[in-house]
């Protein structure tokens, strides 16, 4: 066994050497680029020349003169040197740069460029206190006030705007946080402000000494700008229900995708990681499931609607078997979370209706970081992770396994007399393998991030690059990704603005074979490891993988591959023209989003599939292109005092094209080339397919916000969508919404209540839609079907493929929302409450029908689903001791999902669970119950004796004591399919997230807890590990063995061991349904920010340690209660009916991370 691990590690390290080299080169390149840019920038001003002839003039007068000639702008604080010192200086056509060098030599005055401003300071930074003393004495004669601004941690803040209120008089703080301002009147109020911080006012009089002000990071949400569809609004003017999440410290947290960072951070957003494997799929659900198909929200990145759901661009599910082998879809796994500035989640109809047919599942607006005017800021983040599996499942060791086999044989072969399988005397000399040790290992990962942001009045840019190599806890799995992104905004003239957003992401992924693909439970690494007998030998005597051991999990992890390479291009250009400055603006934009992926899967010898076929491989290429154009006209005007109109109208188009090519072969001469050895394969299993499809969407949209007296806010939104997917005559539909909000805080009767800082009542009602149906559903199609006819010849015939539905129309969701926003004590305490009711009508579904129609389903609009929910978000800020700040924010959301009706037939079933054995559905959509409820038999217990068998309802004719006894729910004296019932609900009753942040000086401690309560899981691993049918299952879970029936009264839960019969009688029963509630300590993060005031060139330095998934409190018997939320490869496309099923999911890792974050 150790031999194997050595072997695995050896292979592993060879791979890594190349990678390290790549990383180094990559970063060298990036840094060169950045440095180059840095040199070029700023030269324009410094290259300007001036002439002077001054004798004994005040230094500040000279500076004023230069400023006038060169248009350069100088800042300096009197704390660093005296501007009144008299100097003499004569020169002609001197470059400003040379002048600055000269005064450095002469007077020891250095400079820095900050936001186009040349800041002068004394080069010797030695003795602040001495200077302060000096300041005090030199202040008396004028109205100059001096001060210092720090943040909560006491760090000086640079670039804080200090204004004298009501006057056109102000300055900025220097890098020590200091400022000097000449007041225009003896008594004044200074307003100090900085982006992201609450503005602070201080009343000053000259002579009061150094004014000290502390800026507090903005918790006051009202001034926040919220990104909504096709525009932005101030939080105070918002009428809809929108959650804003700032992704702070993304680099510190171990997360490979933005969804992980979002998990638990916003009410109403339910995110489930489908597996612990890095880069694996994530299901994202906002305010409950509204549709039987995909419930993935629309994702909009910097205004570009992107494909987040692979299924929308793929060919019809089931028609193309290759899609079943594609990587579970997370098209956005490549997106670098560190590039994200903020995420807005649009939840109610008022916010989503502007996205019309695509908004029913909510909209996620992602805003990435863009450059700001000011000094170029170079930052670098590094993180190192060490991960491991949180727990192992106790399975039988070889002695127990032999006992189990012998007992099973003894119990079953009574007709031929008892027999045993293993000789217990020799079992000690046999192998005793814990297969979980073979497939799992401790892994480590690294993440590098470099970014450069900056700009001036006219040009703002950001450049970032990332490289991460994430290794999975399943041996031989990894997820490497690289990305480069570039944003540029240019104000070409007063009225023109243009910009570009461009992202290029690559990933290279070797995933553990696992079964989010429900058709392939046997190919799952985790499933196979649990099922394999402890008596097998993973390696042969000479250290090679033992391919003669059938279904060897070591072969699955070592010789098999499940690779995918992905490239994502996301690019957008826009131009804006202000027709009437600040009022009427035309914006045109064009975007391209291309996702290319190649999946290569190979089952080597020693695996179930590989053994049967001498190696089997799939190779699939997918190219998904989606491009969109947008033209919007926005209007913004203050009509009267406190009355505002904000409106937008627009026209957009979007086109999707999808090409794929897939091939599947078996019979490989050896396992060396894996999925790249198709040339040598002897048999093509399925003929290559090359589906192509496209679809098109055209829309007109409009929104008007009217604010009356800053108190009453009205919003009307509408969008008309036309889609190529739907039937003639039903292609176009209109999605209107309306909202009203009352800013109670601005009413006079609240004005005097100082402690209330925010009070707003919001309500909205409107419609959004869903067009998620397969391409071609409105036409009757023929599919190819081969036939052997004649002598040794195979012809390619055709058969009918579907029932066309010329009446297909949009699925529509109507949503009512009422919410209340409250803030107290300057928003120190905030509370947001929302109640909603969402009703989806005309569900677009592939409705199963009796197969005597020749088909088992057809696409139609049918039924009604309702989601009702309550969401609460709250946050508070406490100073629990001197300088110790405690920020707490939490959210909780309740959602109740209910199928109201599904036409006259009444119910729809999920896919068959397993290809053999449990090849029946276990989930159902049934009026009165939640979508995808688990459905099956109820076990009453175990037959204790023969009398018990005879007196119980008639079931299996061969039933014996020790077998499962089922409940006869319809009391007809026998167990029939009519005795099945609803067994559980896969959707949680409520989910919550709780974030605690403690700050003390440079320290920050973050603790994040996540929980979901009340959901059930169908644990299919237990179908094998707990079934106690020796011949059918393989190894057994210790709990099942210890709890088995072995004589009257020994157990009423687990059955007897036997060799014949079926696992769990081939029935889905409540035995396999478990409570999946959990509370997870998702993240603990401790960081320390150094005081870098004295370190040159570094403006921030932070070290951190972080622990992810430290523990989870749950009753769930499997690895992890977060299981594949929706099986993404449902063959019928009924994704929402395949929630909460554990197919051998790779559990989420326990990870310890450490890293550094530097800003230069």
């Amino acid at each position: 066994m150790n031999y194997l691990q050595t072997l695995i590690q050896r292979n592993f390290s060879i791979k890594r050497i190349n990678k390290k080299l790549t990383i180094t080169l990559f970063f060298a390149l990036i840094i060169c680029c950045f440095t180059g840019i840095n040199t070029v920038k700023g030269q324009s001003v410094l290259d300007k020349t001036f002439s002077l002839n001054a004798k004994n003039v005040k230094f500040k007068t000279i500076l004023n003169d230069i400023q006038r000639q060169t248009k350069a702008s100088f800042s300096y604080s009197t704390t660093s040197f005296d501007g009144d010192m008299l100097i003499s200086y004569s020169t002609t056509k001197m470059r400003l740069a040379d002048f600055l060098q000269d005064i450095h030599k002469r007077y020891g005055i250095s400079y820095k460029m900050v936001e186009n401003r040349i800041i002068l300071f004394k080069a010797t930074q030695s003795n602040i206190s001495e200077e302060k003393v000096e300041l005090k004495t030199t202040q008396i004669e004028d109205k100059t006030i001096k001060g210092m601004v720090t943040d909560e941690k006491g760090d000086p803040m640079l670039g804080v705007t200090v204004l004298e209120r009501g006057k056109n008089n102000g300055t900025n703080t220097n890098e020590k946080g200091e400022f000097t301002l000449k007041l225009s009147s003896p008594k004044a109020t200074l307003v100090m402000s900085h982006t992201g911080y609450q503005a602070t006012e201080v009343t000053v009089v000259p002579n009061m000494g150094i004014v000290k002000a502390v800026l507090i990071q903005s918790v006051k949400a009202l001034e926040d700008v919220i990104v909504v569809g096709y525009g932005t609004v101030k939080k105070s003017d918002l009428t809809g229900s929108v959650s804003k999440v700032k992704l702070e410290n993304a680099a510190q947290q171990n997360s490979s995708s933005y969804e992980q960072l979002l998990q638990g951070k916003a009410a109403g957003v339910n995110i489930t990681q489908t597996s612990g494997d890095p880069g694996s799929g994530i299901t994202f659900n906002i305010r409950g499931t509204t549709s039987l198909g995909s419930n993935q929200p629309l994702i909009v990145i910097d205004g570009i609607p992107v494909e987040s759901d692979n299924s929308t661009v793929f060919a019809k599910p089931g028609a193309d078997y290759f899609t079943g082998q594609a990587q579970p879809g997370n098209a956005l796994a490549n997106l670098n979370p560190n590039e994200i500035e903020s995420i807005e989640i649009l939840k109610d109809a008022s916010s989503t209706a502007i996205f019309g047919s695509r908004g029913a599942n909510g909209v996620v607006m992602i805003t990435t970081k863009r450059g700001k005017a000011g000094r170029d800021k170079l930052s670098y983040n590094y993180r190192y992770d060490a991960s491991q599996i949180p727990k192992e499942i106790p399975m039988l060791n070889s002695t127990q396994f032999a006992l189990y086999a012998n007992e099973a044989y003894y119990n079953s072969d009574s007709l031929l007399g008892p027999s045993s399988k293993y000789n217990l005397n020799t079992i000690a000399s046999q192998p005793n393998i814990n297969w979980q040790d073979i497939i799992f290992h401790k892994s480590n990962s690294q993440d590098h991030q470099v970014s450069l942001l900056g700009g001036d009045d006219k040009n703002k840019y950001s450049l970032s690059a990332n490289y991460s190599t994430l290794n999975g806890v399943i041996t031989n799995t990894y997820y490497d990704k690289e990305g480069i992104s570039f944003n540029l905004d240019r104000q070409s003239s007063k009225n023109f603005r243009v910009g570009i957003t461009s992202k290029l992401n690559f990933s290279n992924n070797q995933a553990g074979l696992q079964s989010t693909n429900h058709a392939n439970q046997g190919g799952s690494v985790v499933g196979t490891a649990l099922r394999s007998s402890p008596l097998g030998n993973p390696v042969t005597a000479d250290g090679e993988i033992n391919t003669s051991l059938q279904y060897n999990p070591a072969s699955l992890v070592q010789n098999s591959t499940n690779k995918s390479k992905n490239t994502m291009i996301l690019s957008n250009v826009f131009g804006e023209y202000s027709i009437i400055p600040n009022e009427l603006r035309l914006r045109l934009s064009g975007s391209v989003n291309q996702n290319n992926s190649q999946g290569a899967t190979y089952w080597a010898r020693g695996t179930v599939t590989g053994d049967a076929n001498n190696g089997e491989a799939y190779l699939v290429n997918n190219q998904n292109l989606n491009y969109s154009t947008e033209a919007t006209l926005s209007f913004n005007k203050d009509v009267q005092k406190n009355n505002r109109i904000n409106a937008v109208v627009g026209y957009t188009t979007q086109t999707w094209q999808s090409n794929s090519f897939g091939i599947n072969a078996k019979g490989f001469p050896n396992d060396d080339l894996g999925a790249y050895g198709f040339a040598y394969a002897t048999n093509i299993v399925n003929l290559p397919k090359s589906p192509y499809s496209s679809k098109y969407l055209e829309s007109y949209l409009g929104r008007i916000n009217y604010t009356i007296n800053s108190k009453y806010l009205l919003t009307f939104t509408g969008r008309a969508d036309g889609s190529s997917l739907l039937a003639q005559g039903h292609k176009w539909d209109f999605f209107p919404s309306t909202a009203f909000a009352w800013n109670i805080i601005n009413e006079n009767f609240l004005k005097h209540l100082d402690y209330i800082s925010q009070a707003k009542l919001r309500t909205s009602y409107g419609f959004s839609g869903n067009q998620n149906i397969p391409i071609g559903s409105t036409t009757s199609l023929l599919a190819s079907n081969r036939a052997g006819i004649g002598v040794d010849s195979i012809v390619s015939g055709e058969v009918t493929q579907n029932i066309s539905n010329p009446n297909l129309k949009w699925e529509k969701t109507g949503q009512f929302d009422i919410g209340f926003d409250l803030g107290f004590l300057n928003d120190k305490y905030q509370l947001v409450i929302d109640y909603y009711q969402k009703t989806t009508n005309d569900l677009l579904i592939d409705l199963p029908i009796p197969t005597d129609n020749g088909f088992d389903y057809y696409a139609t609009n049918l039924g009604k689903i309702q989601n009702t929910g309550l969401e609460v978000e709250a946050s508070a800020r406490f100073e629990i001791a001197k300088k110790v700040v405690w920020l707490v924010s939490g959210n909780i959301s309740f959602n109740k999902n209910k199928v109201i009706n599904l036409g006259k037939d009444g119910q729809v079933y999920g896919d068959d669970l397993l290809p053999t054995g449990l090849d029946q559905y276990g989930t159902i959509a049934k009026p009165g119950y939640a979508l995808g409820s688990f459905y099956g038999y109820k076990i009453a217990g175990i037959y204790q004796n023969q009398k018990d068998v005879q007196s119980s309802p008639i079931d299996n004719l061969n039933a014996q004591p020790g077998d499962f006894k089922y409940t006869d729910l319809n009391h007809d004296g026998q167990i029939t399919p009519d005795d099945r019932t609803i067994l559980g609900n896969p959707a949680p009753k409520y989910t919550f997230g709780l974030t605690n942040t403690f700050r003390y000086k440079g320290f920050e401690l973050g603790i994040f807890i996540l929980g979901k309560q009340g959901q059930s899981i169908l644990n299919l691993n237990r179908y094998f590990s707990d079934g106690l049918v020796y011949s059918a299952s393989g190894n057994l879970r210790q709990e099942a063995w210890n709890g088995r029936w072995h004589g009257e009264g020994t157990s009423n839960y687990y059955p007897r061991a036997k060799t014949t019969g079926s696992l769990f009688d081939n029935r889905v029963s409540n035995h396999l349904i478990e409570d999946g509630s959990f509370i997870r300590l998702k993240n603990v993060n401790l960081s320390y920010s150094f005081n870098v005031a004295k370190i040159r060139h570094i403006s921030s330095l932070k070290l951190f340690v972080n622990a992810t998934n430290l523990f989870v409190i749950t009753k769930y018997k499997g690895f992890d209660p977060e299981v594949s939320g929706f099986a993404q490869n449902s063959s019928t496309g009924l994704y929402a009916l395949m929630q909460g099923i554990d197919y051998g999911t790779i559990p989420q890792y326990k990870t310890f991370s450490t890293g550094i974050s530097v800003i230069f």
Binding site: L415, S492, V573, F574, G575, L588, S589, G590, N613, N614, T629, T652, T655, K666, G667, T682, N683, I684, V685, S693, S694, E698, S723, S724, L725, I775, G776, T779, S780, L781, L782, N785, R786, A787, G788, I789, G790, D792, I794, G797, E798, V799, Q801, I803, S804, I849, P850, T851, D852, G854, F855, K904, D905, Y909, D919, Q920, L957, P977, A1032, S1062
Partner: protein, 578 residues
């Protein structure tokens, strides 16, 4: 013009380009059904429809699983197959659902062709001949599907129009009588439209001989059914007889002189020129492998796992050895029955049963099964070979072997649906049922033709047999003639049962399971390694105790699949006992 204006104009062009679309059907990679407009297009659909019979859910495996293992001659110890041999299947058992829906898939495609054909304008004489022929072949396939469905499930929904959005998707079951009425009317039209076999016909699609054969068996089965429920089956026995006679006299078929030649996979196509009237074709498929291939999987299923090279040569195929899977095994009593009594000397038993085999055809160890003594073989072809594992208590079938096969589910072996020998036996049976005074001599002579071909010298006397005795003789004869050809289950539930005492049973199924099999020692033969003999009485027996379970009338019909009932409660009540 400044650069920004150029840029802006470009963007504007992009937007306008975006608008320049219409919302017509998106492009897809599949063909629209509306494109079917010529007889050549119809032929494609007809071929595709025939291909469904070859699918895994029907004759390639799942249907076979049901009708082979539920009968009394085969048993299985393979997971997912046992449920049928042990009769612990239920309405959710997958093979039942798969077979049911695949037949309706064929029916819907036939309905599609039958509605698409009439509007097609033919361009020539040959074209209009082809059009008529296509109509006939389509009706044959539809009747064939309904006939299998009605025999498996009893009363079932009838669909005669292709399903569209306006179809009523939820119908109730039609009576057995109306299903047969549809079968008979389709076959009557088809036999008018089709011609007897000619050498230019491809093998696979059907002809008049096949249609008449199906008519004969369908009339016979319906007559049996009417008898059983107390109605008058006589007119249908007459029709069965006349159809059979037409096939024999005009079909152009002849019995293959050597029974064993029928099972030589390399001679398969030639058999279609002589004895085989209709079969489900399978072809080694080099393009596609395994269950999706157009090859069959019988070679692997019927052959023992200790025998290599039966479903692929030793360099290709499953595990590189082409070994069998040993899924379908012969009950020991069945072997005994057909190697004694009337069948003491019969070439069919030797051609069919396999009790001795070598690991690989040319070399390797020797294996035996019951009834061969588990002793050492001293020499085989002059080479001393040892038996190297415990012998099997059940014999195997050697009708399906394909050493050139590509893998376990990609072999050449066909499933014959009608052979001339069956038509002789149908004639004999129909005439026996028509005559209350014992079988006429024409019946006996038809029967004896089948025996004579088998080299069986025990011929029946042309007179003196009672109707009951002859009926049992026909049942027994069919049992050996068609073992492994999926006939026995339908015979068991179709034919009246009787024993020598004249006691009548409604079905042979009841007779076999209630009367005859319980008299045999229960249990598989057990081995005495010291004396190297098989013990067939306690300990040991000649029937697999798991698969020979007491008669229960519910097994006469398979249950309508639960998934169908879940979709459409109008299908309730399910068949009696389910």
């Amino acid at each position: 013009m400044n650069i920004n204006k150029i840029f802006f104009s470009l963007l504007l062009i992009v937007i306008i380009y975006g608008c320049n679309k219409n919302l017509t059907q998106p492009i897809s990679d599949t063909q629209a059904a509306s494109s079917v407009s010529t007889t050549a297009d119809i032929l494609k659909v007809l071929q595709g429809t025939y291909g469904i019979f070859q699918n895994q859910s029907l004759y390639k495996e799942e249907l076979i699983k049901l009708i082979l293992l539920c009968a009394d001659d085969f048993t299985s110890a393979t997971n997912q197959f046992q449920i049928y041999s042990e009769k612990i299947y239920n309405s959710s058992s997958p093979s039942i659902e798969n077979a049911y829906s695949s037949y309706y898939q064929i029916i819907n495609n036939c309905n599609f062709i039958l509605s698409a054909l009439p509007p097609i304008k033919t361009t020539s004489g040959t074209d209009s001949t082809l059009k008529v022929k296509e109509d006939g072949e389509t009706r044959f396939f539809r009747a064939f599907s309904y006939f299998d469905l009605v025999r498996l499930f009893g009363s079932i929904p009838i669909r005669t129009q292709p399903s569209t959005i306006n179809t009523n998707f939820y119908t109730s079951r039609s009576s057995v009588d109306s299903v047969y009425a549809l079968i008979f009317s389709d076959l009557a039209i088809a036999s008018n439209e089709l011609n007897y076999k000619s050498s230019s016909d491809g093998i696979g699609l059907t002809n008049k001989g096949a249609t008449l054969s199906l008519q004969a068996l369908a009339y016979l089965t319906y007559a049996n059914y009417l008898d059983r429920i107390g109605s008058n089956g006589m007119p249908y026995y007459t029709s069965a007889d006349s159809c059979a006679k037409l096939v024999i006299s005009k079909g152009g078929y002849s019995l293959v002189p050597n029974y064993a030649d029928l099972w030589n996979v390399n001679n398969e196509s030639n058999n279609y020129g002589s004895e085989v009237i209709f079969g489900i074709r399978f072809t080694r498929d080099a393009q596609v492998a395994s269950t999706a291939s157009q090859g069959s999987g019988y070679a692997s299923r019927f052959s023992p796992s200790t025998m290599a090279g039966v479903c692929g040569n030793t360099t290709k195929g499953a595990n590189g050895l082409g070994t069998g899977a040993g899924t379908y095994r012969i009950e020991p009593w069945f072997y005994n029955y057909y190697t004694s009594g009337d069948y003491l000397i019969d070439k069919r038993a030797t051609a069919t049963f396999m009790t001795t085999w070598r690991k690989a055809p040319t070399s390797g160890s020797m294996y035996v099964s019951y009834p061969n003594p588990p002793t050492y073989y001293s020499t085989v072809n002059g080479v001393k070979i040892l038996i190297d594992s415990l012998p099997s208590p059940e014999p195997f079938i050697q009708k399906y072997q394909d050493p050139q096969g590509l893998d376990a589910a990609d072999n050449e072996n066909d499933m014959f649906i009608f052979r001339l020998s069956e038509i002789y036996l149908i004639e004999a049976e129909a005439e026996n049922e028509l005559s209350t005074s014992g079988p006429p001599s024409t019946a006996i002579s038809a029967f004896n033709k089948v025996r004579t071909r088998a080299g069986n010298t025990v011929l029946l006397p042309t007179s003196g047999l009672s109707q009951n005795t002859f009926r049992k003789k026909i049942f027994d004869e069919r049992g050996l003639e068609f073992v492994g050809e999926c006939k026995r289950w339908f015979d068991l539930v179709r034919m009246k049962g009787a024993d020598s005492t004249g006691l009548l049973f409604p079905t042979m199924y009841q007779y076999q399971f209630n009367k005859y099999l319980p008299t045999l020692p229960s249990g598989l033969p057990s081995i005495n390694l010291v004396q190297k003999v098989w013990l067939t009485t306690s300990p040991g027996g000649v029937t697999d105790p798991y698969s020979i379970i007491p008669y229960n009338s519910k097994f006469l019909l398979f249950p309508i699949p639960q998934a169908e009932i879940d979709e459409n409660p109008m299908l309730l009540p399910n068949n009696p006992g389910w």
